[in-house]
Symmetry: C2
Subunit: 211 residues, 2 copies
């Protein structure tokens, strides 16, 4: 059985939990308290040298890291990943944009506000990330005002990757109420079969109870 | 013919120039002066709403963005992209790690030092990025001390993606001389057929003159 090294509040971890659940793949979840340095232990660094969760152990001592790489690994050959070459490239664009622009702005702001004491000398940097995060949300808003999902007309791992930190952006100091198309997209995603919230952790029960 | 919207000093642009050249695909290069806001014009934002180069126009009005997504688009079906599922996932791991960890630390430091006047209030942030950049280089150093290339034993787009900003890291205030395995890897990459330096711009001549 797959084993997921994870931290429950993490959006990057949530991406993997959500996709595994929607694919009906059972897994064991192992909580790693990143706030207490557990992802920087020598034991953990042997699993992922960059010292970050999520890590998916797909067989004994074979570890996958980088949440969006794991999404691509798991979704190959499923309806969550388009087969058309150009559509798949559009999906790649969203996945890289998420890791390069969206996550550093929105997820970092949330992490700093929820878990760290943002010292006075980081306040400027937090403001800068809020500005970049609002630009990122505005870009999504414009795209989603004419599209039901991010790529084509289907729910894919691009939606999972962007949903993870977007739907909790308020916790990072953003105002989702300003973004109507994003809010409607969030509702469409929550209505997908076997959707689970980011706080769901009872993975002994498959499939998860539907609302 | 493909048309590449580009900025010559950009490592992200260089990735695409290098792969197109090594694949023997002719293209027209259009310089976009990002320092003068040319990537933020309404005309450019219609090509890429996130306002960044590189953008590859693959047919009239079909624009691809996100450098690593473009690498994946171009390399499909070529020796630059492994077909094995796990090997390909390893390659994805490097591409996402590059955009989430390596590039924000190393490329940003280089951009700030080479092109921007880093104001006093950003000095702390620059120091933080130097620390993260040195951690990233140490991770690559360890990996490359037992591997000739990043994924398997072959030169792939993972090497191109990481080479782009690593080989000019000195320009961002890093000391590559400390990293022997990285230096040897850089030399292996420079020895690949049809390699071009980041400063090469005479793409009217195909293939480029070999050294």
């Amino acid at each position: 059985m797959y084993r997921l090294y994870d931290f429950l509040p993490s959006g990057n971890g949530y991406k993997i939990r959500l996709l595994l659940t929607q694919l009906g793949i059972p897994f064991e979840r192992i909580e790693v308290n990143i706030l207490q340095g557990e992802s920087r232990s020598l034991e953990f660094l042997a699993k992922n040298p960059s010292g970050r969760i999520p890590v998916l152990e797909i067989e004994s001592s074979v570890f996958l890291s980088e949440s969006n790489a794991v999404l691509l690994y798991l979704s190959e050959g499923t309806p969550f990943l388009p087969t058309d070459h150009l559509q798949r490239t559009r999906l790649y664009e969203w996945l890289f944009w998420e890791q390069n622009i969206h996550e550093p702005a929105i997820a970092s702001s949330r992490f700093w506000i929820q878990h760290l004491n943002v010292a006075a000398d980081r306040k400027d940097e937090l403001q800068r990330r809020h500005r970049l995060g609002n630009e990122a949300l505005a870009l999504m808003e414009k795209h989603l005002s004419t599209q039901r999902f991010l790529v084509g007309d289907c729910y894919t791992i691009a939606d999972i990757a962007l949903f993870a930190y977007t739907h909790v952006a308020d916790e990072g100091g953003f105002k989702l109420s300003q973004f109507r198309a994003i809010q409607a997209w969030i509702e469409r995603i929550k209505a997908q079969p076997n959707h689970i919230p980011i706080t769901y952790s009872n993975f002994q029960s498959f499939p998860p109870p539907t609302k």
